[in-house]
């Protein structure tokens, strides 16, 4: 599956709720900063300005899932 394909942001949040229970996410000017299990991923894009549920590229989601050590769970939910 291409890393350039997109997943709606709210689906990414649902995946995080399932795979990274207890994580925190803080909205910054350009990104969401996700913290879980002692790791920080500060570069989850907020997407286009004004879009409530923008698409997030699968390549970013794959990297975030590897970085936070939740890759297998993320694949199971999002198929990334």
């Amino acid at each position: 599956m291409s890393s350039f394909g997109q997943v709606p942001l709210l689906n990414v949040f649902a995946m995080l709720d399932a795979c990274a229970a207890g994580h925190t996410r803080v909205q910054t000017k350009h990104h969401y900063c996700i913290r879980f299990n002692g790791k920080t991923f500060p570069t989850l894009p907020r997407g286009e300005h004004g879009k409530a549920n923008p698409g997030i590229q699968r390549g970013v989601i794959k990297k975030m899932a590897r970085h936070l050590d939740i890759y297998d769970c993320a694949v199971g939910i999002l198929g990334v």
Binding site: S2, T28, H30, P42, T43, K62, M64, H67
Partner: protein
Amino acid sequence: MAWPLCFTYTRSVMGKGFLAHVAFCGRTLAVMETDGVWLHGVNPGAIAVGGGSLADAHKALHEALTKTLIDFAEAAATYDAFEAAVDAFYHETDADLQEWEEEVARIKDGRTAPPDGLRRCPDPELYVRVRAMRIEQLTPDDNPLSLRDATADDFGAAA
């Protein structure tokens, strides 16, 4: 196919009552896909960008790093807090580090070739440097849209 790359990045960033200069020599793993290239960060690890070509992905990496540093500047109440955030971001890596090292070994023993057109940076000196700046230290290169963004010289094959 994946290539282990090194890159340099420099940027001046304004925060709340401070001006900082940030310089990286970082590592990234370039992964070729049928519709483009993805750069998976190693140092810093928590970043990934894609582009239609290696040059496009390189430009996207610079843009993403700049946006991330601006986020850190917005969140930091002091210069010291900003410096700590940048330092932690740069050093936090993940499993892509092992893959990067394996790809370096594959190039060094001739199993794969580095990408054409990139300078070679065998055994790159990795660093992150953050320093406070005074207004008289600024130069035109510190302008946000200067031509220092993502030039070919900033990028290299790490073997």
